[in-house]
């Protein structure tokens, strides 16, 4: 269910983080991407909400460890 989401969210992550060749993998995390700071994280969450037409709630995003968990969470909202 999540495989198509990686294709759909790759341009979102590339736009927000301003990295044209970013490859979205489940293991990728903020620790791997210098541009992925707290402000970028807010922009990512909002951009994903808008792209997928979903809403995260407070607490949803606090414990996310990597892109894989982020995408799984997003998929659960669809």
């Amino acid at each position: 269910m999540t495989s198509g989401l990686y294709d759909r969210l790759t341009p979102v992550f590339r736009d927000v983080l301003d990295i044209d060749d970013l490859v979205l993998t489940p293991e990728l995390s903020a620790r791997d991407v210098a541009e992925w700071d707290s402000l970028s994280h807010i922009r990512l969450v909002v951009a994903v909400e808008q792209e997928l037409g979903i809403r995260f709630i407070a607490g949803d995003i606090d414990s996310l460890e990597n892109v894989g968990e982020f995408v799984e969470l997003a998929a659960s909202k669809l």
Binding site: I42, R43, V46, Q50, F56, I57, A58, I61
Partner: protein, 144 residues
């Protein structure tokens, strides 16, 4: 105007479609102060004859002064004193002239409870003519 007049809207107070707007006029004094502040002495903004020779109706208001009106609306009204302005994407559509009345309007288009942030649609108009349009991203800090 003082901080006491600023609104203090929290994320729970807002909804998509919530809006704030205000009329404004940029004066000669505003233009001179911005020229001194920014160091931008481009004749489009400072020389009436030059601006007319370029096909404009008069001196064109600095885009920075239009942005200043948006800053006031965000910082004082929507959401007010708890605002943390994160981003701006703005296109200037047509010139605003000194002394011309305009209206700036912000509308909440997306509300993210998880990040305590809002996306705002921006429209700046004079009469029916669009001056600038775009979006702004604003986080809302816990009320202090």
């Amino acid at each position: 105007m003082s901080l006491a007049t600023a609104k203090s809207l929290n994320i729970a107070d807002l909804h998509e479609g919530a809006a704030a707007s205000d009329d404004f006029v940029i004066s000669n004094d505003d233009m001179e102060k911005f020229a001194a502040l920014s160091g931008d002495l481009n004749r489009l903004h400072t020389d009436e004859d030059f601006a007319r020779a370029r096909g404009f109706e008069g001196r064109v208001v600095y885009g920075g002064l239009v942005v200043a009106q948006l800053s006031r609306l965000i910082g004082m009204d929507l959401p007010g004193k708890n605002a943390i302005w994160n981003g701006l994407d703005l296109q200037f559509r047509s010139p605003l002239y000194v002394g011309q009345q305009a209206n700036a309007e912000l509308t909440v288009t997306h509300l993210s409870e998880a990040t305590r942030s809002i996306e705002l649609k921006i429209r700046v108009q004079t009469g029916d003519r669009l001056i600038a349009s775009g979006t702004a991203s604003v986080s809302i800090a816990n009320a202090s």
